[in-house]
Assembly symmetry: D3
Homo-oligomer: 158 residues x 6
Amino acid sequence: MSNLNEKKFFNCSNYTMGKLTSLLVMLHNEEAGADIENEMKRRGYRYTIGKVGAMDLVKVVTAIETSAKSNKVIDPNSYREVHSLYHAILEAIQGIGRGTVQFGDILRTVGLTFCITRGTVEISGYSEEWLSVCIYGTIGAPKKGFEHDVLGFGYNHI
Amino acid sequence: MSNLNEKKFFNCSNYTMGKLTSLLVMLHNEEAGADIENEMKRRGYRYTIGKVGAMDLVKVVTAIETSAKSNKVIDPNSYREVHSLYHAILEAIQGIGRGTVQFGDILRTVGLTFCITRGTVEISGYSEEWLSVCIYGTIGAPKKGFEHDVLGFGYNHI
Amino acid sequence: MSNLNEKKFFNCSNYTMGKLTSLLVMLHNEEAGADIENEMKRRGYRYTIGKVGAMDLVKVVTAIETSAKSNKVIDPNSYREVHSLYHAILEAIQGIGRGTVQFGDILRTVGLTFCITRGTVEISGYSEEWLSVCIYGTIGAPKKGFEHDVLGFGYNHI
Amino acid sequence: MSNLNEKKFFNCSNYTMGKLTSLLVMLHNEEAGADIENEMKRRGYRYTIGKVGAMDLVKVVTAIETSAKSNKVIDPNSYREVHSLYHAILEAIQGIGRGTVQFGDILRTVGLTFCITRGTVEISGYSEEWLSVCIYGTIGAPKKGFEHDVLGFGYNHI
Amino acid sequence: MSNLNEKKFFNCSNYTMGKLTSLLVMLHNEEAGADIENEMKRRGYRYTIGKVGAMDLVKVVTAIETSAKSNKVIDPNSYREVHSLYHAILEAIQGIGRGTVQFGDILRTVGLTFCITRGTVEISGYSEEWLSVCIYGTIGAPKKGFEHDVLGFGYNHI
Amino acid sequence: MSNLNEKKFFNCSNYTMGKLTSLLVMLHNEEAGADIENEMKRRGYRYTIGKVGAMDLVKVVTAIETSAKSNKVIDPNSYREVHSLYHAILEAIQGIGRGTVQFGDILRTVGLTFCITRGTVEISGYSEEWLSVCIYGTIGAPKKGFEHDVLGFGYNHI
């Protein structure tokens, strides 16, 4: 891992949690991704990155939810936390679907990378926990190459 | 501007147009943003970055459309190009709205930065022009600080 | 106020918070309403009842939000609590709108009573706070009597 | 059944058909439910109460439709009546879904009680038949206890 | 007006009410339109044709509703009939809006011709009255020529 | 085929591409349909007419897409053209669905005829290619006769 003082790709110390999450989902394979992860760790955020490809919408929801639970971003035994995550996922999927929350039912397939982050944010003197979900990938026809980028983002209090 | 061979923050030469657009909207004030812009210029993309803050949805649509026209990303006299941009903007706004395309009508306000990019993409041996719109910023109550990140993305053939 | 042991209209001691909220919005002017309120107080719930009539959607959102803040159901200085309430209100309004979140824009007007309740709920051994919003009233044409009942309900963790 | 003159839980003689329907779906197992049923019978309303639990949306639509037909709330051989009921059901399900008419497709399951009522209503001197559908129950993750209340309501002329 | 036995443009005697309505809205200025109108009159249908141009959605709803009332297609004093028409109009507007029921709010304007028809239809031995609304015209940017065709259709029992 | 100069049902030489497409889908079995087809051929439009009946939404999308590809209305190897067609189909299906893009999931079935047309249109001195999709048919309960007309229309640049 890079030494934060020597080699910074971004000076991301003033980025919001949502911005870090969104950049990480796109840059996690880059050297720059390490800077983002370092910043997230420094702040005590809990986060995970995962992938899912499907025509079946429920598989996408399930994959993101399972990833957050098994990587301890949320407590799977707290309904409150599961509820918060669920709505953040749905919001992000609305950005992916752009108008209708359907994939295979309308003959399109997705290949997605997602990042789920949880952390404490200071707003007006209150320290409160929030959750952000960013999904980046491709959507398209079930034919190789006939697809384009998509990006979705959800945010919720936890 | 940085020398591309000496100091690359990203090796973004294999990024899609959508990924470059989305990263630029978040990083345009960073040194890393120069790498993205250089890559976009190298490929001959036409792009612009702008900002808009409003409770009034139509102001957001108008600001993005006007920016693309006045910065020559699209030809304002071609209905075809205006139509393509319009639908890409609406797609991106659906990611911002997450479920309903309304801002002030449901008591929320937005502060947004957007990037519109147009370029030629090779798919299965065809060279075709596409347009991508990424919007990043905040949405929230009309009270300072009571807002969180949003991200929306639209893509269309042109 | 009725003596809970002597005269119970409902034995509502096993009702969910959502059910109490929904019954109260419809029965708050009845004697039976006192039983519901007593049960809510016994559990330590914070709640309020209000009314709003408008063609203008934003007035409905504002009236419900303001009522919850000024009656201490939520802390107006906590963005987390405001965010939770906001999404619960939008959910309830989707039940009122049934397909589109618009009133005057599509030539309809509403006369609504709402109840917002906040309380601790035990789920799988976890004590967690939730918020429920129920809206009951009429929707219709801007002509006296040309209206029918509507009911909407939203629920969120807080 | 309670004697209406001696023991009234509600004096519901001035309630709308929609309000009676909504209260009955929540109180049909209570003594108070008898008062509501008596009032509905006194007015000559035709109604039925049923239950359905499913992840599959079409099972919910089918269960409600079948219940109304087999309990003679509507005439199953009249397309007009079937059409009226169908749209009232969809409206009620929009209150349940709050933003998207999907259950299992987005990893949620429902356990619902519904009441369908049909009756003549006087408006501005016209006697006209209307139909109301109220659905009350729970929605949640496919895990016991990880669910919360939902309420949906639809209304149509018949 | 053409003699029905001598000169028929269409033999439209077996067309549904919806098909006649949709053809009339597109052909009412043609000679062929007379055949459609004759068939509608022969069947005893009540119908009207009107026009509206606006950026303001509520003006479109109002214009269609007012036209149906003042031309006696529906009885403006019957809430049942007004309710039926209202939902048929909203359905037709959803075809015009394609995804969101908004015009000026998202920077688009419409120029529309509409036809509202009411008639008795035989289905499975039942004679029942239905209403159909067809809207045809243009939608586009607020710039002359930057617009394209739109078509919307709604149908309801009355 | 009819001689255009002798026997014209419509003088459709000034009709838009969208209007021709919509009329053809309704009149293709009539003599008048030949006039429309002649006009479309005269202008060099590429078009096709097909049918599909299903409860399964994806079958409808697939049938329309396949018909356009196999009848050379679009080039199946150009993602740009496939993308344009796909969004025009979705728009038309929104007019069919009127509020929700679902068929069998909400217990309804469709029997549809569709026409897809592609042609060059002159707007403000620019010659540009556009695509229009019109769908006409019936939607209803899975019971013979319990169905009514539907009409949907989509339009896109290609």
